[in-house]
Symmetry: C2
Subunit: 349 residues, 2 copies
């Protein structure tokens, strides 16, 4: 079947581009002796996680225990859960998981460390813990090297936990200095940071600029999206995810309505350039979305798409798009090669 | 089990509030002899669709054939699909469905009408068609009464189709005049518009202001959300959907990070008031979301929530939130009463 014959909306990935993205990114790390740990949030597919590891990745990163469970059940065996795990239900799942695969987590508070320690000791497993530092991202993470050292010491003296090192998201211009300062203090405390993990697809080819970092996590690079392109971190040719939609209405000369809206694409990352890019209608702007309708301004298109016409759209946010769908169509050279159930979709816990 | 004991994030609905919302809204229509057709996009649950019909609704509205298939399979038998159905795969599903339930659709173009006509005739079924008019919503719909009449005539002379009337979304201040003018022209053409259907939860108690309208569709009213509250169309007491989250990090005195982000709540309807409302921490603002983290400003909270503490959040957009989740927890008086699989979730086609 030709990809263009799919009923719409259809979320597709071009496997040639996916494989090229995996290869070129991994090559950067392999050549420099750096560790690369792809984040599966973008694809949520065990089959692609396996390909990333086969290409040379040291393991995978996930955000939720539910994602780790899916990946471990599919045979992935080195999994970093980039999240503070709190509360008995999740801690019990975590220690069970630690019997199936090598599982590491992060922590940025004493409460997280103590919960992990208690659960690991009770279940007789050992869990690696990285201290998350906020190096400018403004999300999770300790704010100072001193806090990081205090937390590392707490981890190190907890039975069942092993201090692995430092982690941040995203890598910023401040990461190098904060990591370096923290590493020195950790050395002085007799707790060297074996892993210093940065993150973000935008910096995937700039890790050498921050020599304190010896491991990097990135997710979006495998599919890319227009957010990456707009940030200059990707080219349109690297965009593997494309959604086929149909024009369902042309109510006015300048307006086209397509059959994908926020339930197909998300409203993530709003931009004046719109919620997606139409490779065959570069002047078209997906300026608004309701749940099932994409509102497209076609005023500047030399030829305007007609009702019933199918259009390709490169999404604004690949990871968010993935999470909305139960399956994804893998294509090659314009033909449908496989339909993958998105096994780790919707794992909120 | 107490709702507060659920592992997080947990998406819940309070059945007492749901039932009250169903009853008070239906009462408005029953008292006035108006037809009410709830839109299932908000709950995507056959069990609640059945309760809406049992309360007096004339049937249900859906957006996609996949949603109609789920609802028909669950025994709902009067279904309006508010969408231009195009292309053979969907048309075949539509005519199959028309053998199981009374199914109506909308159309705003000749192409849609002709496709419906051909499919209905080929399969020997009759499908009701309403002409969608754009009465100010700026989405789908013919722009003028003349276009509406031309399309009605085309429907009326198509074997297998039955012209039902007019439909718009949302009802606006212009709807009354446009419907009235179109109804007169339709009468003159010998094609009375039996149904004149408006839409939108915001106007659910204002249908009598537009006497041309004799049927109304609304979805969000059943759960409500902070978008409705901010628009003055709902009270906080009418908000049935609440999401339980846990504070997973308190990196700074003013910042709390919770374990629900855009993958739990969507980034729909951004507002300075944030992506949700914390009933127990009214000063807290969910100012940003990454996929798995909600970024909360707690600077103005007299008492600030601590790491590990569970918080209730009323979402910004109930319908979008529903679509992200595989199941929803039904509570009553703070206890878990049922867990419903969201059977019509993710039906993009």
């Amino acid at each position: 079947m030709l990809a263009h014959e799919l009923d719409t909306p259809a979320v597709t990935i071009d496997l040639d581009i996916v494989e090229r993205n995996i290869a070129t990114t991994q090559q950067y790390y392999t050549e420099r002796g750096l560790r690369f740990r792809p984040h599966i949030k973008t694809h949520k597919l065990p089959i692609l996680a396996h390909r990333q590891v086969a290409a040379g990745a040291v393991g995978i990163a996930v955000q939720k225990i539910g994602e780790a469970e899916v990946m471990a059940a599919a045979g992935l065996d080195d999994i970093l859960i980039c999240y503070n795990i709190l509360g008995r239900p999740k801690l019990e799942r975590l220690t069970r998981l630690a019997r199936q695969a090598m599982v590491s987590v992060i922590a940025d508070s004493e409460m997280t460390v103590d919960g992990l320690a208690e659960a690991a000791a009770a279940d007789g497993v050992t869990i690696g813990v990285q201290v998350e530092m906020d190096t400018g991202g403004g999300r999770v993470g300790v704010q100072t090297p001193e806090e990081a050292v205090r937390l590392a010491e707490r981890i190190a003296r907890s039975r069942g936990l092993r201090f692995q090192g430092l982690m941040t998201f995203p890598t910023t211009d401040r990461t190098q200095q904060m990591f370096e300062e923290t590493m020195q203090k950790l050395e002085a405390a007799g707790l060297p940071a074996e892993v210093r993990s940065g993150g973000g697809s935008g910096r995937r080819f700039r890790v050498h600029e921050s020599p304190a970092i010896n491991e990097h996590r990135a997710g979006t690079y495998i599919y890319s999206d227009t957010t990456m392109v707009e940030a200059g971190a990707s080219t349109l040719e690297e965009c593997a995810m494309k959604v086929l939609v149909t024009v369902v209405s042309r109510p006015t000369p300048e307006r086209a309505i397509v059959d994908g809206g926020s339930k197909t694409f998300t409203n993530d990352h709003p931009s004046p350039k719109g919620f997606g890019y139409f490779p065959d209608f570069p002047e078209a702007v997906l300026y608004a979305q309701s749940e099932e309708h994409g509102h497209v301004n076609v005023a500047n298109c030399p030829r305007k798409p007609e009702v019933g016409e199918k259009l390709w759209v490169i999404p604004r946010h690949a990871c968010g798009t993935t999470n909305l769908h139960d399956e994804i169509v893998a294509t090659r050279q314009g033909r449908v090669e496989a339909i993958y159930p998105i096994l780790a979709r919707g794992k909120i816990r």
